[in-house]
Amino acid sequence: MIAFTRHSKMAEIILKDYQLLPVINRFGIKLGFGNKTVNEICEEKKVNVPFFLEILNSYHNSDYFPDKHFSDFNAEVMVEYLTNTHTYYLKSKVPHIELFIKKMEEEAQEENCRNISLLKTFFEEYKVDVEHHFKEEERSVFPYVLDLERALSTNNCSQELINKIKNDPIEVYERNHESLEVKLADLKNLIIRFLPPLHCEDDCEHLLTELFELECDIEDHTRMEEKVLIPKVKMLEKKVLEYYGN
């Protein structure tokens, strides 16, 4: 598979793989590209080009990932991207799924009403899990990553940060990093295998498509955290400890 480069035309990229649409959205890039290249668009939007390309290519082709180029970026760019992705899930994906479940609930025959409301509750629980998971990352992991990078660029490192590296390193987070896909897979299984047939097949089909997409997207997202962010943070932790002689 050919990788996209900085000279690829943005429009052609999307024509080739429409599933990249939500990805470019997270970088604040909107449609109406004309004939502009990746380079031109990124310059306009002040997006880091190599990072943007790595993300596009890794979403487009899962074998492309992980790549050594990732070590060239600031952790800051990555944290910003991951935070945007969290927002995208919660503000765009989750409400879509809720909408389809609601539609199905409205249209279901009596005997299926109860089943759909069970699925609804199940998804509500999942939403709470996901929100909690993201909040934890944004509250404790991401600021820590930024602190590490700042300590290296400003030559100024607090004792507090050193203690954290020693007592509560990223490895702890790595060990406890839960999978967010398992419950989604359960929900799909419940619908595909066990939900009695519905009259609103369209809505059900849309719902399933959304669930499949979200699952894939979250898998890529988790891969990014585990294969890119965590190794990067481990490297930063090591460097900080070396510089500050502890």
Binding site: L118, L119, F122, V182, K183, D186, N189, L190
Partner: protein, 201 residues
């Protein structure tokens, strides 16, 4: 259902005391409740197999088998066809008549994983048929308890079965239904009236 109340018998056969001890320790690690018999020679192994014909699992280190014994063993294995076998050795040979294999150089993690498969996974031959069938009565009992929030220990006590049996049932339930999480199983149980809404937490 009677099978569940029957004791599980496992034989560990190796010349080396340390190997036997190591295997026993790992059986504790994976939470196996079983009567363990140890054999430090091939003859001893044959004796135990005669005394305990209902042996379920045989863990055998290759140090106990000289070449000519391999053939004798083929006969022994056939006579205990119910028993599941695993070999610990240097290299897995092509015509290995053992169901599972652990390399002597494996890490702790992979040994534990292998032992878990060995003891808890359904054998591949019959698992496919199993999958297409619905849940058995006993599996429904276990599912009900899981959906009500019981721990494995509580389920074992309620149904008078061992924790291992509970774990095996849970694995089979998950592979039949394709549902892994407790909340997913609870939804299934509610959809199918296995538990009542007011019982669910």
């Amino acid at each position: 259902m009677e099978i569940e109340n029957r004791k599980v018998h496992t034989i560990i056969a190796s010349e080396q005391y340390l190997v036997r001890l190591g295997v026993k320790t790992l059986l504790n690690v994976i939470g196996l409740e079983s009567e363990v018999h140890e054999a430090d020679s091939y003859d001893e192994l044959e004796c135990i197999l005669k005394d305990v014909p209902q042996t379920n699992f045989l863990i055998l280190c290759e140090d106990i088998m000289q070449k000519q014994k391999m053939e004798c063993f083929e006969g022994v294995k056939k006579s205990t066809c119910m028993c599941r076998t695993i070999l610990i050795g240097k290299q897995q040979s092509e015509r290995c008549m053992f169901d599972y294999f652990i390399s002597q150089t494996s890490s702790r993690k992979s040994v534990v994983e292998k032992l878990q498969q060995f003891f808890y996974d359904p054998m591949t031959d019959d698992s496919q048929d199993e999958d297409s069938r619905g849940l058995s009565d006993r599996e429904i009992d276990v599912l009900k308890a899981v959906a009500l929030g019981c721990s494995n220990k509580e389920i074992a006590d309620q149904l008078f079965i061992s924790i291992n049996t509970v774990i095996t049932h849970r694995k089979n339930i998950t592979s039949k239904l394709g549902i892994k999480t407790i909340s997913g199983l609870t939804v299934y149980a509610l959809m199918n009236n296995i538990i009542k809404p007011e019982e669910a937490m």
